[in-house]
């Protein structure tokens, strides 16, 4: 398996033998992440983001969340330095001032400590990061016995780096996928989750789905037969439920028939309200949307999202709010199904229009993707990377649904654009003001019930 993936030399030296890694994963009696998702149980599995710099602190955080939040899976959220392969910086920071890191530097702490994290809690762990090239992190995760790894060559590049050529990130992630497929051959099915949130701010659903679909196709090329496709809550329930359903319909249409696809909802990923009441309502609402949309998993947020890295207590409360939203007591809730059906049909049309030209292009899928980003026929708003045009301008329509105000060079069908323009024309005002208002769609609400933050802490 070692030959499938190029690792940093220093890293390779430190890792155990691949055979040991594989044997340990195979013989583990712990639940894998995929086992948890397969078990299902009629409601979404719940998972928080969580990661702090120090190792003892990370152990304590995982244990506290496991106990107080009753998650189905837990995260190891990686710090920014490690994401960008600044391993030396991460290592110095975790030695000198671990409390100031915005995540757990798993590569610097090393796989032995990773195993301690796995052993600390009763639920499987997932590594969540944002690395254009996550190969070393992946290898350390596997050595630690972690059975779920997030990312992909598009979604972990364009929003997460300035200048990593797409061809490079796609190649790195092809290697991750190849190892994932090989492990499945040994009976170890990893959760390979594709990050559909992109820049997380006003992402039109069809854009998110197009990107994760392309990443899923790349994974399929490498032999992967099980992926999780994530989608970021827009905040308009009919649109969000339609998008979650569209993940399945689009997957059925384009992905291999023997591919398992789990759907994941990211609770609202944009600018969160600072007001505690609104933040709590939004956290709950995310869980509810995930459940109505029959997501297999919901990644929860916290009432402290607008304020900083959350405390364990606030993170646990976020889980519990989402859990209350997933209760069977709420089975009675009905949506306007006509609206959902209409939205879903449009999303499917738009995804087809975005993806099909890429499939029919260039020698390889990866090359097609690179070419499409180069000419702007694939693109995202607010791109962090110079390798996307960032010519797409999204806006919310009067219901709050996210639409294409300007598609840039995206090859969206005329009918779809006309419909969206029709919806957007109902709003007046200057475009920059509208964008700002839409970025702050939830953050700008009047306080829901004024009272000091941390009053219960």
């Amino acid at each position: 398996m070692r030959e499938l993936i190029d690792l940093d030399r220093a890293q390779r030296r430190r890792l155990p033998d691949w055979s040991e890694i594989v044997d340990r994963l195979r013989s583990s009696t712990r639940d894998t992440a995929v086992a948890v998702l397969r078990r299902g149980g009629g409601r979404p599995a719940l998972q928080p983001r969580c990661g702090v710099g120090g190792h003892p602190e990370m152990l304590a955080l995982l244990r506290a969340l496991d106990r107080a939040g009753a998650p189905d899976l837990l995260s190891v959220t990686i710090d920014s330095h490690t994401r960008l392969r600044h391993f030396a910086t991460a290592d110095r920071a975790r030695r000198e001032n671990p409390g100031q890191l915005n995540g757990y530097p798993l590569v610097a702490h090393g796989w032995e400590r990773g195993r301690a994290l796995v052993d600390a809690v009763g639920v499987p762990l997932q590594v969540r990061h944002g690395s254009p090239d996550g190969r070393d992190l992946f290898a350390v995760s596997l050595a630690a016995g972690i059975t779920s790894f997030e990312g992909g060559g598009i979604g972990y590049n364009i929003p997460y780096a300035k200048d990593v050529p797409l061809a490079e990130s796609l190649r790195a992630w092809q290697q991750v996928d190849a190892v994932t497929a090989a492990l499945a051959g040994h009976g170890v099915v990893l959760e390979r989750e594709l990050f559909g949130s992109l820049t997380a701010v006003l992402v039109p659903p069809s854009l998110s789905l197009a990107m994760t679909l392309l990443e899923a196709l790349l994974a399929a090329e490498q032999g992967v037969r099980c992926v999780s496709v994530s989608y970021p809550q827009s905040g308009e329930v009919h649109q969000d439920v339609a998008a979650l359903r569209a993940i399945r319909s689009v997957a059925a249409r384009y992905l291999p028939a023997d591919m398992t696809v789990f759907t994941v909802l990211h609770e609202f990923m944009g600018v969160f309200p600072a007001d505690r009441g609104w933040a709590e309502a939004l956290v709950h609402y995310g869980g509810l949307v995930g459940r109505i949309g029959a997501a297999d998993k919901v990644i929860t947020k916290t009432r402290q999202e607008a304020h900083g890295i959350p405390t364990a207590a606030a993170n646990a409360e976020g889980l519990r709010l989402a859990r209350a939203a997933c209760s069977p007591l709420l089975d009675f809730i009905r949506l306007n199904e006509d609206r959902v059906t209409e939205e879903q049909a449009w999303i499917e049309t738009e995804v087809a229009a975005l993806v099909e030209p890429v499939l029919n292009r260039a020698p390889t899928l990866a090359a097609g993707i690179c070419a499409a980003f180069a000419d702007g026929t694939l693109d995202i708003p607010f791109s962090a990377s110079v390798h996307a045009h960032a010519a797409v301008v999204p806006l919310r329509d009067p219901t709050g649904a996210v639409r294409y105000h300007s598609p840039g060079a995206l090859p969206l069908p005329r009918a779809a654009l006309d419909r969206q323009r029709g919806l957007l024309n109902q709003r007046t005002g200057r475009i920059t003001e509208k964008i700002l208002a839409d970025i702050n769609y939830f953050a700008a609400r009047e306080p829901w019930a004024a009272e000091p933050e941390e009053a219960t802490a």
Binding site: S80, H81, T89, N97, Q100, Q304, I309, A384
Partner: protein, 143 residues
């Protein structure tokens, strides 16, 4: 608003700190500065401090504006004293965003940033024009 023509007399270097990929505030601030008559050169996200210094030197910029919201500002700016010492970064440095990973850490991080040699530590984009005006007018006077 008074005469703001002087705003376009010198370039400004704008960007986001080395480990930080948050793009939205950076794009909006760039837009705001242009609209207000400044001439920012935007290095975008994930920009090492040395690149800020090089760009400032190349453009003879009046100020360097470093944004960071991911909490790693102190770490990402730790090279500032060295760059100053080597004379590679001479103009004022303005920091804006979230200085630390949580509200509790902000005061200490602000102090650390000042210790490192950051001239202005701001929270909100609205604070930027006044600070830049003072920097620019001082620079133009002394020039």
């Amino acid at each position: 608003m008074g005469d703001t023509a002087f705003r376009s007399r010198r370039r400004l270097v704008l960007g986001v700190a080395a480990s930080d990929a948050h793009a939205v505030a950076n794009r909006l601030i760039h837009l705001m500065l242009v609209q207000q008559g400044f001439r920012p050169h935007n290095l975008g996200v994930c920009t090492p401090l040395a690149e800020f210094a090089d760009a400032a030197a190349d453009l003879d910029a009046a100020a360097v504006i470093v944004g960071s919201v991911n909490g790693h500002a102190v770490e990402d700016l730790r090279g500032l004293p060295d760059l100053r010492r080597m004379g590679r970064l001479r103009c004022p440095v303005v920091f804006g965003g979230r200085p630390s990973i949580d509200a509790a850490g902000h005061p200490a991080a602000r102090a650390r940033l000042r210790d490192l040699g950051v001239d202005h530590v701001l929270d909100r984009p609205e604070e930027l024009p006044a600070v830049l005006d003072s920097i620019l007018s001082a620079a133009l006077t002394h020039a």
